[in-house]
Amino acid sequence: MNCRSEVLEVSVEGRQVDEAMLALLHTILLHRSTGKFHYKKEGTYSIGTVGTQDIDCDFIDFTFVRVSSEELDRAIRKAVGEFKEALSNSGSDGMGQISLEFYQKKKSRWPFSDECIPWEVWSIKVNVVNLANEQERQICREKVGEKLGEKVINIVEVISRHEYLPKMPTQSEVDNVFDTSLKDVQPYLYKITYQITDSLGTSVSTTMRRLIKDTLAL
């Protein structure tokens, strides 16, 4: 695929799942968001400001920084909540993967719908562990905090590499690159998907789609 992919792996206790996920997803999004663009005449624009917030976790000894945007936070929380739900309902050994995919839209000709082409995918693999007693929980609390700290540094390292980013769009194209629906911040277009256990391959719909495409491409 013509897209970068990064994989992060964490093992956490059941109740830490959402905080850990929020911490990582927010960290990535913090670096993949800009202030709102204000286009002016002559095709120039200025960038608005972005506020940040420190968030302390309840079940992990960890503090992370996120963009202070309630709307964004709500959207992420919703996705993470669904993921956690699915994870606890799955009843399997508590493996799951949540991925944050940045994409850009590309207008296509008539017979095809607009393509969403991912350019960076972050996959966070979660392994849920069960702990026996309070002391272990205490240790886990610290250890997960340390681990998350490492991951955050990882993320920052990856992001500060000089690699492909979609080019800054003109006013008419801004919706193809950035998510402009939020009032106070403007992240790159993103999509959060999750998957419980790495079951065999992809979902049915993607398989079907591929099958059709393959048949056409014979």
């Binding site: 013509n2 302390d56 492909y164 080019k167 391959g201 491409a217």
Partner: protein, 845 residues
């Protein structure tokens, strides 16, 4: 969760972010996406389409071709149905009289049944309905695919026009290498691939040929079940399009295949832990696909028959000899293909080898068949002559029943017979022919060399180069046999296949999962017997057979001079080139000193210049002579080395002249590149530098130039291939025991016998070399190569004596008497002759 608000807060007055008065300071200019070509999602498909469009000479040609294909399909089906159901054959054969009133002539429309009768006949026939439905579905599928393809290729077309700045009309005049150079340029500007700033040629090749490389590697490692031992036919190779399609379906793109998508292997197949489980899964999948094939077999069979009938009957009628013609088999194409070799490169090189190959195959005429054919042709010819004479006398003869038929049949019969009668004036020299073939096809099993005259070799070569008729037969049989091969042969290999994909898949950044052989890394997959000794770290399992890694590397480096190989590969290439270069120069020195000895006999050494001749085309007379002498001088020890070197040398004058032409082409354009001209003059042995220089400066200018250069590249590759094979032969020979070495040598000497099949081919070998091998002599050939080439005149003189002895045994084909004589001469050991001839040497000095 506690929230701590830091001081970095968003300013709510959004339109006045900047302090008053400085509104204009922080202003950005959007780059916009000027082109739609940045960041293409599926680069594999994208490059494949670019390549296809280039190969099909532009959009219009392609569109027309596809439309005609669709129309053809409709035509085949309707015409067949029409012939079966709507023609009254009784009228056509005049068994029934037509009740015409106006004239007695029967016209074609009379034979057609009326529409309603015809429709009723079709409706009643369940079988016809069945076929119609199936072909209808098939056609609809093709139609949808066609529309989809056209939409996709329209995009590619606009890519060509807008991004590559090239109109469709110009497309046929650009070589693929030029296109590729432009794509590499484009990447810098548009970033079509987001992983890296710059694309390399290898990346593009990897993406276009991802699966083909796997197939080539699997054939190379004999993983695919394509060789069978049939009870009556002996060793056969069965590899048809249907089988290939099924293999690809199973491995690469079918539902549940090993690949997740075009560019990545499924992660579970990359882990070794559950290989048995995966092998089980694969084997059940193969079983299902095999069963599906079995069920669909009647449909495919009918289709194949119809298709073959309509595509070949016309050809056979027009020229019946075409069935006797040969073509490169599908297996041959896989076996002979380099890693990272595009279709057009392979085809052009195989086509160049075609003539020599068919000549070689024609060497083997069965004398029995010849006698029979001669007589049949005689009888058939006499009858035909009489019939024709009668017809000329009075053409009413034609109206007699079956006269026209017999004339046609007799004509066909004579043509067939004639193909079994060898040309009287043909000169046979299989060993030389095989070498010429090798120069083009680049691969050949070791045991062929020196055994060119044997029927076993011929049969094995026939597996690569089969009769067209056999090809069609195999295609027709394929639907029936394929399911059984899948179920009984391929399934057994499922574990090996799983292991193969796990062991030989590497993930390359910016490309995805590719076959590791296709990296052409000498260190990982080199074969010690192919010049990568000391460099390779590969186990036997990892070594590519037949020197595929090394030859592919050479081939790729030569066809893509701009490509920067990794360091070890660069070393390998430059070492090899230097060696060839040195051979060339040493060979030349040798000639200067020995020129006059052989001047009298040089004209007789025709077969040896064959390579030089064929490689170069019509070279100047002088260079041809040089070529001959060089090959003679060094013949005993290393025919091919000298052949290659001399060819290289004899090539250089020609190439210089070509170069002049090409630089003329570029001077017409604004930027004249004197660098290219200079480079052209400078090259003596290895011409790559010149090529790089000129193509570097004028890749965007002269079209003629690049055509010439690509021609040049293929010649250079031929020379290197021959050279590498020769070196390999020597190396492996050095490793063999003395006995084997001698036997091989004696084989080579017996090649002098003309191959009309009758001549006694084998001399008692033990007698051939009664006392030959003293230890010192055993090592001689190897020593000689090493020293003589780089050493002084004495060395080359001691070599000079050898040709005399050797020369009497040079395979001469038509020179039957001489060959006989040489056979008598044979018992004298080759090495012994060296002692007999010292006087000559002294005379020379």
């Amino acid at each position: 969760m506690a929230h701590f608000d830091t001081e970095y807060q968003r300013l709510e007055t959004s339109y006045n972010d900047s302090p008053p008065g400085e509104e204009n300071l922080l202003v950005h200019v959007p780059e916009g996406s000027k082109s739609q070509w940045h960041h293409i999602e599926n680069l594999d498909l994208f490059f494949q389409r670019i390549y296809n469009l280039h190969q099909k000479n532009g959009f219009t040609c392609m569109l027309l071709g596809e439309i005609f294909e669709l129309v053809q399909l409709v035509f085949v089906v309707t015409f067949t149905v029409f012939l079966v159901n709507c023609v009254d054959y009784d009228i056509l054969f005049a068994n029934k009289l037509v009740n015409h009133t106006d004239s007695s002539k029967v016209t074609l429309p009379d034979a057609f049944l009326p529409v309603d009768v015809c429709g009723a006949r079709i409706r009643d026939n369940v079988f016809v309905i069945f076929i119609l439905v199936i072909s209808g579905v098939f056609w609809l599928h093709r139609l949808i695919k066609f529309i989809y393809n056209i939409c996709c290729y329209w995009e590619i077309r606009s890519f060509y026009i807008n991004a590559l700045k090239m109109s469709m009309a110009d497309l046929p005049y650009f070589t693929w290498q030029e296109m590729q150079a432009r794509i590499v340029e484009i990447q810098k500007e548009h970033q079509i691939c987001i992983h890296k700033k710059e694309l390399t040629e290898l990346d593009i090749y990897h993406r276009i040929l991802r699966f083909k490389n796997y197939m080539v590697a699997m054939v190379n490692k004999s993983l695919l079940p394509v060789r069978f031992r049939a009870p009556l036919l002996g060793d056969i190779v069965f590899y048809t399009r249907g089988l290939k399609y099924n293999f690809e379906l199973i491995f690469f793109w079918g539902p549940g295949s090993l690949f997740e998508n075009e560019w990545s292997l499924k992660p579970e197949y990359k882990r070794g832990s559950n290989r048995l489980e995966l092998a089980d899964k694969l084997s059940t999948r193969i079983l299902w696909i095999g069963v599906a094939n079995l069920l669909l077999c009647p449909v495919i069979l009918i289709w194949q028959i119809l298709y073959a009938f309509f595509s070949y009957t016309e050809v056979i009628k027009r020229e019946p000899g075409s069935l006797g013609a040969r073509c490169w088999s599908l297996y041959g194409r896989c076996y002979l293909r380099h890693f990272n070799e595009l279709d057009h490169e392979l085809m052009s090189r195989l086509s160049k080898g075609y003539k020599a190959s068919s000549k070689y195959m024609n060497c083997f005429m069965s004398p029995l068949l010849t006698v029979v054919a001669k007589n049949v042709a005689f009888f058939a010819g006499s009858i035909l002559a009489v019939l024709i004479a009668l017809t000329i006398y009075d053409e009413d003869v034609l109206a007699v029943e079956h006269v026209l038929t017999s004339i046609t049949l007799l004509g066909v019969c004579i043509t067939v017979c004639r193909s079994f009668i060898p040309d009287k004036h043909l000169v046979f020299c299989p060993e030389q022919l095989l070498k010429v073939i090798l120069a083009h096809i680049h691969y050949m099993p070791d045991h062929w060399q020196g055994n060119a005259h044997r029927y076993e070799t011929r049969d094995e070569f026939a597996q690569l180069f089969q009769y067209k008729a056999v090809f069609i037969m195999e295609e027709l049989l394929s639907p029936v046999i394929t399911p059984f091969i899948l179920i009984f042969c391929l399934r057994r290999k499922s574990l090996e296949i799983i292991d193969f994909f796990r062991n030989f898949t590497v993930e390359v950044v910016g490309v995805g999962d590719t076959c590791s052989f296709a990296q052409m890394d000498v260190r990982q997959h080199g074969h010690p017997a192919w010049m990568s000794a000391g460099k390779t770290e590969a186990s036997i399992y990892q070594q590519a057979e037949d020197g595929k890694t090394e030859l592919s590397l050479m081939h790729f480096a030569i066809t893509n001079p701009h490509w920067q190989p990794p360091r070890e590969s660069t070393n390998f290439i430059s070492q090899l080139k230097e060696k060839v270069h040195r051979e060339a120069i040493c060979g030349q020195q040798g000639i200067l000193t020995e020129n006059h000895i052989f001047s009298s006999i040089q004209s007789e050494s025709e077969p040896h210049s064959l390579i030089a001749n064929l490689l170069v085309g019509p070279p100047s007379l002088a260079s041809l002579n040089l070529g001959r002498e060089a090959s003679m001088t060094n013949h005993v020890v290393d025919v091919g080395l000298a052949d290659g070197a001399s060819a290289l040398r004899s090539f250089s004058p020609l190439s210089t002249s070509q170069h002049l032409r090409s630089s003329y082409a570029s001077t017409r354009l604004p930027r004249s590149d004197s660098a290219a001209l200079g480079g052209g003059r400078a090259m003596v042995g290895s011409g790559t530098d010149a090529r790089t220089a000129s193509s570097g400066s004028s890749a965007w200018e002269g079209q003629l130039n690049s055509m010439v250069l690509s021609e040049y590249a293929s010649t250079e590759m031929s020379i290197h291939a021959v050279y590498m094979h020769e070196l390999h032969k020597q190396q492996s020979r050095g490793q063999l025991s003395r006995h084997t070495w001698h036997r091989q040598d004696s084989d080579e000497s017996s090649e002098g016998i003309p191959d009309d099949g009758e001549a006694p081919r084998n001399l008692p070998r033990s007698n051939t070399f009664p006392c030959a091998g003293t230890p010192q002599q055993e090592g001689a050939p190897l020593h000689n190569t090493a020293q003589r080439r780089y050493g002084g005149t004495t060395e080359s003189l001691s070599g000079g004596s050898r040709p005399m002895a050797r020369f009497s045994r040079i395979p001469m084909g038509g020179w039957a008497e001489e060959a006989q004589a040489s056979r008598l001469h044979d018992p004298v050991p080759e090495e012994g002759s060296e002692d007999e001839l010292p006087p000559h040497i002294h005379k020379v000095t």
